[in-house]
Every structure is written in C-alpha cells, then in structure tokens.
C-alpha cells in the first residue's frame, strides 16, 4: 500500500488544477463533483492505508515512499518523501474525512456565489498542502505544506476580496504567520546543523543516540533553542499568545473555510508539529515549560475574550484559540497523545459548531450578531440539535467527546513530571478556562436558539432549515462529537466498564514510546491514587456544569436586563474584556505603527532620495556635466569630422617621422 501514499495528496492537486484552470467554464455541477470526489478518493485511499497499517506488527508501523530526490547541494540531500505512521495516519484521516464533509457542506453553502469554482479550487489546494504537511517524511516537506496552507488560508480569508476589511484580514493572517514561520525556519536550520539531516528517520534516532552517548546533554541550550524556535512557528500557525490576533479576524472568510482551515485542520498543524518532534521536546523540559505556560495563558485568556463577543463566528474563533491552548497544554506536559486526541475531538465538534453557525448565518440572511437572533430552535431543529451536541461536547460533559480529551489533558497537566508545581498551576488555569468555555458556549446557544426572535420581520420570513447537503455533514459531525471521545477512554473509567481499552493511546504509542522512556528516566512520574483522578474528573465536570448553570441563569432565567446591569456594575472590566484586553491596539502602537513610519522614512529618504536621487540619477548627472565641454566638438558637420581625421593623420605621420 505504501506505493499508493502519493495518491492522497495527488487527488486534491488534480482537483485544484482542473478547477483552477477550467472551472470557470465547467459549470457548478462538475466543479462541485470534482471538488468533493477528489477529497473523497483521498479519504478512501487513507482508509485502505489505515487497514494496511493496522495489519502490520506494532513496531513496524511505518510506511515510507520516496518520490524523488528534490535537491542535492553538497552534503545537503533533500528527498520528496512521504511517510505514514500512526500519528500521520490519524491526522490524514481527520484532514480528508472532515475535509470531505466540509466540501459537501460547501456545495450547499456557496451555491449562490459567483466565484464558485475559485472557492473549490482553493479548498482543494488547501487539502493538498495540508496532506503534504501531514504526510511529509522530513521537515522540508512539512515546511512546504506549512507555507502552502498559509497561502490557501490567505486566499480564502480574502475570498470576498471586494470588501476591504476581508482583504486586510487576509493580509494580517499572512503577515502574522510570516513572523512565526521565521522562527520555524531558524529552527530547521538549527536542526540541520545539530543533526545533519532534516528527515524524521534520521533526526530522532540521532537525537536519542547523541543523548544516550552523552554528546547531547539533557535540556541543553541547543535543544531548547530548537524547540522554542519551532514553537514560535507553532504560535503563529496555531494562534497562540502572542501571535493569535490573526485568527479572530480570519473569520472574514466563508464559514466552511473557518470550519475547515481555522478550526479543524490548519491551525492544529502546530500541535501536530510539536507532537511529531516529541523526542526533541522531551529532551528539553525548559521548552516544554514555555509551551505549557503559554498554552495555559492562551486557553484562559482566549476563553475570557469569548465571553463578551456578539459575533457568532468571533465567539467560535476565540473558542478555537482557547481549545488550541488546551492541545498545547497536552503536548507541553509530555502527554503528546492527549494533545492529538483533543485535536481530533476538537476537529469534530468545532467543525460541527462552525458549520452550524454557517447554517444559522445562511438562514438569517448573513446576520452574524447573536443579539439579533433568538428563538431559532423551532425553525431549524437539525441545526439546533447538532449544535447543542457539539456545545455539550466542547463544554466537557460526559460521555461527549470533549470531556475525555480535555479531562485527559488536565489530568496529565496535574501530574506533569518535569515541573510538578507549574503543572498544578496549569491545571487550575485550564479548569477555570473550561468553566468559562462552558459558560460562553451556552450563552451562544441560549442567545441564538432560545427566547424571542430579535431580528427584523424580513429576516423572520426567510428563516428556514438548510438543505440536505448542509445538514448531512452536521449530523455526521454531531455523531462524531458525541462518540469520538470513546476512542480514548481513560484507564480508570475503562476498568470500570470491563477493561474497555484506550484505543487511541495504544494506537499512537509507537510514536511516543521513546519520549515516555526519556520522561521516565529523567523525572519522577508522580503516582497518585485512583481516587484523585476520579475526584479531579468530577471536579471539572462540576465546574463545567456550574458554567452552564450560570449562563442559563443570566441569559434565560433573568432575561435581558441582567447582562447589561452586570456590564454597568463592572464597567472597567467589561470594557477591558470586550476590547480583548486592547491587545490589537497595543500591537498597533508597538509594531504596526513603528513599521509604518519606518517604511515612510525608508521610502522618502533611502529609496527616493538616496537610491533614486544619488545612486541612479547621480552618475547620469555627472557624465552630463563632464561631457558638456567636449560635446561641443561633436557638432554633426561632416567636414569637422574630416578635419579631425586629417589632423590625426598628420599627428601619426609626425610621430613616425620625428620620434
């Protein structure tokens, strides 16, 4: 089967090329058929690859396909190679599976758009680059995918490029990501210098070998630097503090794009990258500490920012930032599989939430302000039910998917082996954040689907449930949000259920086994009694329930007056959070404005005056000045020229005669 791995990225590439070049003339039916079926074929190939991979013995579960030598410069050899191991298998199943559902949804959502073909070609291009990112067998191929998905994201955020703010949002996403990519590239250079290769097959065994051989000290500076630089890339791509600001603005794109790129797949690339580099991170606990702290801060602060937003998509965007923070907590406390587990469940329920939001926006004639909605539950029952399931999942109520993954992450943070105290602090932050998440998600549900309808009469007349092409993906994703968590049932629950295995942890174990050995060797893994785990689990469920109850009390029981009352009572805090801690403004003053004014100086002084004035026009002016006298001789008369020839002849003759 490893001969056919290349088909997974190839199908979307074909779809992208055909739709991109000829889509204009093909008609909507053909375009959507091509766009969806290419991803569907990729999913089928992935599925069969999974069956093949499953049949192999556990320690041999790696399939590699070298397509061709990409470049050879001196000692640097780069191959375009694809690799499938349990980790990339899971990722590619999520990417093509969720991607396929969102493509189907898009055929309904974008049905009336004039650039239908452009949309599908971009979307296929995104899936192509995302599968390159996930399947690459070395950091270079990953980097190609990494940049490619950034491009696709830019193109799709600015998809409706006629609106200026959409184009600005696209630019913001691209430029902020560039800052992160700078760190990522530096990290790759450092990896190459240290290990002499960029291929996963070489780097990780080499790192272990150097570690055991004593050449590479535990927690040494170069390792921490590599991990931190890679993490800088991850903060950009996966919207962590301080580079998260692009993601809320990225909601300017079409809603299915937000679901696919800015919730389910692309933004999780950073988590995948850290999990892929787990051996390097496990050897550098200081870097893990930074990852964990930044992730906890992101999870908490993004959750608070979500509380006071009114735009349905902005709420989900902050929620995504916050959930990405949880994933990074997972990988940051050496519980790599739980980060990936949350990545998977998050892909299900957040894609579902975004698609539901899209369905609501569709029904509300492009209205996104939840203050103008309300009482939609009766009008669109399928959307309501599926969104409710996804919301319960993200709030962390058992037995829905989000509970298992989030709780595993928090539990592993509580037992962080390298820094036990910091681990407890991360746990506290994460648990409070989970409560806030439950609060703002149910606030969204209550304001959107319950109470009185607050929109215009015109909108009320148009209210309708979305077509089947849109509700089908919703139902599938809701089912996955409900049941997806059962793949990773924690051991304490599993034992009670009669030895129900933790399927996902076992599946991913080969990838993370070496890391676990390092952690066990270098730190004491704390051993808490089972009761503590049960207690924490109950506590986080209680916190989530409390969040839901508070939301219900404020927005359902008391009606509309209480939120405003609270806002007035705590006006400074309200303003602070409502304005997202003024971080955008701070960035504007600290980064954007200085760069802007510096560019003006560079333009006027360096470019216009120095380069154009002195560098380019200067020599011309000089030559003109110096030749002004001599050019008088060149008057164009034939006989003046002739006279000079004769004079020259005489001079030469005299020279030969008298010298």
């Amino acid at each position: 089967m490893e001969k056919y791995i290349f088909l997974i990225p190839l199908f979307p590439l074909i779809g992208f090329i055909i739709n991109g070049l000829f889509g204009r003339w093909l008609g909507k039916g053909v375009v959507s058929f091509l766009g969806c079926m290419t991803i569907g074929f990729s999913f089928i190939v992935s599925f069969f690859t999974w069956i093949e991979l499953k049949s192999l013995p556990v320690e041999n579960r790696v399939l590699e396909q070298v397509l061709w030598n990409w470049l050879t410069v001196g000692d640097l050899k780069m191959q375009l190679a694809l690799m499938i191991d349990p980790l990339s298998m899971l990722m590619i199943l999520v990417v093509t599976g969720v991607g396929f559902l969102i493509h189907i949804y898009s055929t309904g959502y974008m049905a009336h758009d004039e650039s239908y073909w452009r949309y599908f070609s971009y979307l296929n291009m995104f899936v192509f680059f995302m599968s390159m990112l996930v399947l690459g067998a070395n950091y270079m191929v990953m980097f190609v995918g990494w940049e490619g998905v950034g491009l696709a994201s830019y193109l799709l955020i600015g998809f409706w490029y006629k609106g200026n703010e959409n184009a600005d949002a696209g630019k913001k996403a691209f430029i902020v990501n560039r800052i992160g990519d700078f760190g990522f590239v530096l990290g790759l250079f450092l990896i190459y210098i240290t290990f002499g290769s960029l291929s996963y097959m070489d780097v990780f065994p080499k790192a272990l070998e150097m570690f055991h051989g004593g050449e590479l000290a535990f927690n040494s500076g170069v390792l921490v630097a590599i991990c931190l630089l890679l993490f800088v890339g991850a903060t950009g791509k996966s919207a962590q503090i301080p580079l998260y600001t692009w993601l809320p603005d990225a909601m300017a794109g079409p809603t299915p794009v937000s679901a696919l790129i800015h919730a389910a797949t692309m933004v999780t690339a950073g988590v995948y990258m850290v999990a892929r580099s787990n051996i390097l991170y496990s050897l550098a606990p200081d870097a893990l500490l930074v990852v964990g702290i930044i992730a906890a801060l992101t999870a908490f602060f993004a959750a608070t920012m979500g509380v006071l937003q009114y735009d349905i998509k902005k709420i989900l965007a902050y929620s995504t930032v916050s959930q990405l923070g949880y994933m990074f907590i997972g990988v940051g406390v050496t519980a790599y599989w739980s980060g990936i587990f949350h990545l998977m469940t998050h892909a299900f329920f957040k894609a579902c939430l975004f698609l539901c939001a899209g369905s609501v926006i569709h029904a509300m004639s492009d209205e996104q302000d939840i203050r103008k909605m309300g009482g939609l539950a009766g009008k669109m029952p399928i959307t309501y039910l599926t969104m409710l399931i996804a919301t319960i999942a993200i709030a962390g109520i058992p037995p829905f998917a989000g509970f298992f993954s989030k709780d595993e992450i928090l539990w592993r943070a509580f037992t962080f082996p390298y820094y036990p105290v910091i681990g407890k602090i991360i746990w506290v932050t994460g648990t409070i954040g989970a409560g806030i998440t439950a609060f703002y998600m149910f606030r969204l549900i209550f304001l959107t689907f319950h109470g009185e309808f607050r929109g215009t009469e015109e909108q009320k007349k148009h209210l309708h449930e979305s077509p089947f092409s849109m509700t089908l993906p919703l139902m599938i994703l809701a089912l996955l949000s409900f049941a997806g968590g059962w793949l990773g049932v924690p051991h304490v629950i599993g034992e009670r259920l009669g030895h129900f295995p933790n399927i996902l942890e076992q599946w991913l174990h080969p990838v993370f086994a070496a890391s676990e050995e390092i952690v066990e060797k270098m730190a004491v893994v704390p051993n808490y009694p089972v009761a503590v785990e049960w207690g924490l689990m109950a506590f986080s469920v209680a916190v989530a329930t409390a969040g839901i109850c508070i939301a219900w009390y404020i927005y359902m029981r008391r009606g509309a007056d209480l939120p405003q009352q609270l806002a007035q009572e705590y006006a400074p805090l309200y303003q602070l959070i409502h304005n997202k801690y003024y971080l955008d403004e701070v960035y504007d003053y600290m980064v954007v404005k200085p760069v802007y004014y510096l560019s003006i100086v560079l333009w006027k002084v360096v470019d216009a005056f120095m380069i154009d004035g002195i560098g380019v026009n200067g020599p011309g002016w000089l030559v003109k000045r110096f030749s002004a006298g001599v050019s008088l001789l060149h008057n164009g008369y034939l006989q003046t020229g002739g006279a000079f020839v004769v004079l020259g002849l005489v001079a030469i003759t005299c020279f030969f005669i008298y010298w």
């Binding site: 008057n635 164009g636 034939l638």
Partner: protein
C-alpha cells in the same frame, strides 16, 4: 623614364588637393570626387613603387583598391540619392543631425 621622386611629388600634390577639396567644398558630389582623387593618388604611389622596386605586390593592391573604390562609389551614390530624395539637397552643411 622620370625618376621616382617625380611620381612621389605628383602623388602628394594630388593627395593634398583631394584633402583640401574634401575639407572645403560643400557639395557632397564634389566630396566624392575628392575622395576618388585621394585614392588614386595612393594608387599612383603604389604603382610607382611597384615599378621601381620590381615588386608586383603593389600593382595587385591597386587592382583591389579599384574594386573597393567602385563598390564604395556605388553605395555612396545610392545613399546620396536617397538623401536627396528625403531632404532635397546635397549640401552637407545642412546635414548635421548627428551632433552631440
């Protein structure tokens, strides 16, 4: 037979006349004639030396010069006719577009 010096002096006089004509006259046709005069002064010199030194090379050279001169006159006159058709004059004082 007259001595070699006479040929040289005659050739120099012809060459000098050619130069003076070339530098002073304003009619392009006269300039052509002056150039021919200079060429033939050189030819005369070559033939004279060839005869007095008993070396045939000089005379071979002269034949080549005739051929080149004929070609040059053909091309030159063609240019001159074109020029006349364009600007209705052969006065080279009017033809000074190539100035710096």
């Amino acid at each position: 037979m007259a001595p070699l010096e006479h040929y040289i002096i005659l050739s120099c006089i012809l060459f000098g006349l050619g130069i003076i004509g070339f530098l002073t006259r304003r009619n392009a046709l006269i300039l052509f004639i002056s150039i021919e005069l200079m060429l033939n002064a050189v030819n005369l010199m070559l033939v004279a030396f060839s005869t007095f030194k008993a070396n045939i090379n000089g005379q071979v050279m002269v034949l080549f010069i005739f051929a080149v001169a004929a070609a040059e006159v053909a091309v030159g006159l063609a240019i001159l006719i074109c020029l006349f058709r364009q600007i209705k004059t052969v006065d080279i004082c009017r033809i000074n577009l190539l100035k710096g």
